[in-house]
């Protein structure tokens, strides 16, 4: 694991310099106080709007006025009303003041002695040039009818990084507002700022604690069916579009630490390292390292994995997905790997070669129904005589019944053959795996693996209908039917599963998603409800 250690060191090094790369000539902190400070992080612009006795402070500057509009993406603020700017070379009065925070340049509109607009640099009126401001300079976004995402009397803005309001109120439009002592909204536009290292869960509500242009610390409220409600804390560090590091701790029921780091070494060459450590009696370390390079014709990947005392390595060559116009698309891969399976049976170490092929049909339409088919085949040959092959055929169809109702169907056949050739089981004295007979969770006995020489088939039929309402509102119904071989009572995939998923936008800033599923004829449970729940802006 020397490679992993080297990567960790390199990751720490880039993280240490990440903050320096993002330094800009912007104020580091801007304090905004007013009768009402509202934050609108909506689609067209991210806006901070303040009304009544507005005071903005940064560095030595204090800008006061009646109303403020601050475009947080362009870092341009406009103060109107009785505007006064102090702290510069001299005091400035006017009826409107528009400042570009990045350059420090501003426009001031004054009415004494006659109405006029001045372009000012560094708030120094001695350098002011009297000229009409370009149309729209003082224009304000129309916020009529819009509900702010959050509201306060006090906000602290770290330009390009975060807005913190304390105390803060979240107007919902559906009864009382949600109030919190403080809330941090990140403005970082780096796509990696929301990366996560923690395992996926059915519900995850982040709560940002601290932020800068290159970092974000957040607490998470999580829910999953196994651990119930749990908490997590993660720290994310980003370096432009080149690298990120995410560390996540689940300190309570899960008792898990995760680390995920990524780096673009050069265009076309990337490396990823992930580490997981679970605490407690069953504690284990899992590490994964991946180095990927893309060429003109092929992509190459090196995978190194460690799972406790076992490890594996694999090198892959893959073509891109090619299309032969109007006929089909295809992709091919080949791999070579090594496995060390600690205390493994019958081998501790082995080598393997693999091949993979994908064949896809073009999407075509018959009688208003879109159709598509694909076939995948993979073969892995371990040290003689062990082989695993998988073949999957999938047909997908979709039809739009009317403007709001869609219908989709998929049929999939998959056959796996995990076998030892040439009666090798007997020759190498493998015998049946102990105990030979397994028992399902309800106590039902069933024969072990060699009873079917590793052959199994999955046949799944899926039907899904989406009924779209206005905006985000929709209802989605899904039915899954599985007819597998071997299909044992209480083990494998449930034969019949039904799911309903409802998405409802309660307010412009609140969307609720509720899901409920039922299993039939599986493990003596003919009704096994499952819930999912999600809230998003």
């Amino acid at each position: 694991m020397r490679v992993a250690r080297t990567l960790v060191a390199a990751t720490i090094a880039f993280v240490a310099t990440a903050g320096l790369a993002c330094a800009e000539l912007l104020p580091t902190k801007v304090d905004v106080r007013a009768d009402s400070v509202n934050f609108f992080p909506y689609a067209n612009q991210t806006l901070l709007a303040a009304e009544g006795h507005v005071v903005v402070r940064f560095g030595k500057r204090t800008i006061s006025g009646d109303a403020l509009r601050w475009d947080l993406q362009k870092n341009r603020l406009t103060m109107t009303g009785a505007v006064r700017v102090i702290g510069g070379p001299a005091e400035i009065d006017g009826v409107a003041y528009e400042r570009d925070l990045t350059s420090g340049n501003a426009y001031v509109m004054r009415i004494d002695p006659i109405p006029a607009t001045y372009a000012v640099t560094g708030d120094d009126m001695r350098t002011a040039a009297e000229q009409p401001a370009p149309p729209g300079t003082f224009d304000a976004a129309d916020l009529d009818g819009q509900r702010p995402y959050m509201r306060s009397h006090h906000a602290v803005v770290t330009p390009n990084a975060a807005v913190r309001m304390a105390p803060v109120e979240f107007p919902t439009g559906a009864g009382p507002s949600l109030r919190l002592p403080t809330y941090l909204y990140t403005l970082v536009q780096n796509q990696y700022i929301n990366q996560s290292a923690a395992p996926a869960t059915s519900f995850d509500q982040p709560f940002s604690l601290f932020g800068s242009p290159a970092a974000l610390t957040a607490a998470h409220l999580r829910y999953d069916g196994i651990n119930g409600v749990t908490e997590a804390i993660d720290q994310r560090l980003v370096d432009r579009d080149k690298a990120y590091l995410v560390a996540s701790v689940l300190p309570f029921r899960d008792k898990q630490f995760d680390l995920l780091s990524f780096q673009v070494i050069r265009p076309g060459l990337q490396q990823t390292l992930s580490e997981t450590h679970t605490f407690g009696a069953d504690g284990i370390n899992i590490s994964s390292y991946k180095l990927q390079e893309s060429g003109k014709l092929l992509t190459q990947t090196l995978n190194v994995n460690q799972f406790g005392a076992s490890n594996s390595a694999e090198f892959d060559l893959s073509t891109y997905e090619h299309d032969i116009r109007h006929l089909f698309g295809y992709q091919l891969r080949a791999s070579y790997g090594y496995d060390h399976n600690f205390d493994g049976f019958p081998y501790t170490n082995d080598y393997r070669i693999g091949g993979y092929g994908l064949l896809t049909s073009p999407s075509f339409t018959i009688a208003g129904m879109s159709l598509q088919a694909k076939y995948e085949y993979s073969l892995t040959a371990y040290d003689y005589p062990h082989e695993v092959t998988t073949g999957t055929t999938t047909f997908t169809a979709g039809k739009q019944i009317n403007r709001s109702v869609n219908l989709f169907a998929q049929v999939q056949f998959e056959q796996n053959d995990n076998r030892y050739r040439d009666f090798a089981v007997g020759r190498i004295a493998l015998g049946l795996p102990p105990p030979g007979i397994y028992r399902a969770s309800d106590g039902t006995p069933f024969p072990g693996y060699f009873a079917y020489v590793g052959l199994n088939t999955y046949r799944s039929y899926e039907l899904q209908s989406t009924i779209n309402g206005r905006g985000d509102n929709r209802v989605q119904l899904s039915v899954y039917y599985n007819n597998d071989f071997p299909q044992f009572h209480g083990t494998g995939i449930e034969p019949l599963f039904f799911n309903v998923d409802i998405v409802e936008r309660i307010t412009p800033s609140l969307r609720i998603e509720l899901g409920r599923g039922y299993s039939f004829g599986w493990n003596h449970e003919y009704l096994s409800p499952q819930y999912t729940f999600a809230i998003s802006p």
């Binding site: 612009q45 426009y107 009297e130 300079t137 990140t186 891969r333 496995d339 892995t380 693996y449």
Partner: protein, 294 residues
């Protein structure tokens, strides 16, 4: 006679500027003096109106709608950055009813100003708390603005050229790879939603296509990625490598369709056979694999 009047205007304007430079027109003592050089003032185009001139009304009117920055000392200031002289007998009314209004002209209110084409002054001001429909274009009333003029604008503050800021419905239509699990949902993650991996949920169109429509103001610069609900399942490029965000610049248009293709998902295990375990083992103790979509 007309030439004589124009010369009078010029003389008055120059006198006002000279007095302003000398601080004789009552600029606030706390404020800095504005040292506009006389030479540059002479080179500048004289203002079409000044604070004292009162040209005769023509009877023709031009209506212009906009948002007020301020209203004081006989001037109405619009968010275009211009001040317009207000007629002493200006009529204030309600923009919706045309009748009397309780609103007082102030910052952020919307107003429909009726200009006398001859005098250039505002003779009627209709007020509203909501945005008013466009009337005459800005160019039609620009000539009535009271300001000294130079042809130069501060390049740092010039708004993006060519964008009118109107809402443009943008439809994102994406083709996903055939390997996409049937039951999965597709989302748009954007920079303006804090890169939430489930920011905008897309609707399924057919086996391989998803669609969603959102309205953005023209001039909006949007970075976005496609995900299947988490960053572990975000889109990657054709070679399977992590990619930079896609960029959309919303131009002036009535409607726009953005067509994208997702070649791969980050969580696709492209190479290992689906043998149901994280590590390939010579002996498979789990005979019944569970496909990943369940």
């Amino acid at each position: 006679m007309r030439t004589l009047r124009h010369r009078c205007y010029l003389l008055i304007a120059l006198l006002a500027i000279a007095l302003a430079n000398a601080g004789a027109l009552g600029s606030a003592p706390a404020a800095a003096a504005i040292p506009t050089p006389l030479e540059s003032a002479i080179m500048q185009t004289p203002p079409p109106l000044d604070a004292t001139a009162t040209p005769s009304p023509s009877g023709q009117v031009i209506k212009y709608s906009g948002q007020l920055l301020d209203y004081r000392d006989g001037f109405a200031f619009f968010t275009t950055g211009d001040a317009f002289r207000v007629d002493p007998n200006v009529k204030l009314d309600d923009a919706a009813t045309g009748g009397p209004t309780t609103l007082v002209p102030e910052t952020r209110l919307y107003a429909r100003a009726t200009f006398d084409a001859g005098s250039g002054g505002i003779v009627e001001l209709a007020l509203s708390r909501t945005k008013l429909p466009d009337e005459a274009s800005y160019r039609d009333v620009k000539r009535f603005a009271v300001a000294l003029s130079t042809p130069y604008a501060n390049p740092d503050l010039v708004p993006a050229e060519g964008f009118n800021g109107k809402g443009v419905p943008v439809t994102f239509l994406v083709e996903v790879p055939p390997k996409t699990p049937f039951a999965d949902q597709i989302f748009l993650a954007t920079d303006i939603s804090g890169w939430s991996s489930t920011a905008i949920r897309m609707d399924r169109v057919d086996a391989l296509h998803y669609r969603v429509t959102r309205v953005f103001a023209s001039g909006t610069r949007l970075l976005y990625r496609y995900t299947r609900g988490s960053w572990q399942s975000a889109d990657v490029d054709q070679s399977g490598l992590a990619m930079k965000p896609r960029l959309l610049l919303v131009k002036n248009a009535d409607y726009r369709v953005v067509r994208d293709i997702v070649y791969n998902w980050q969580d696709e295990n492209q190479f290992a056979p689906d043998n149901g375990s994280t590590l390939p083992t010579p002996f498979n103790p789990v005979p019944f694999n569970i496909p990943p979509h369940h």
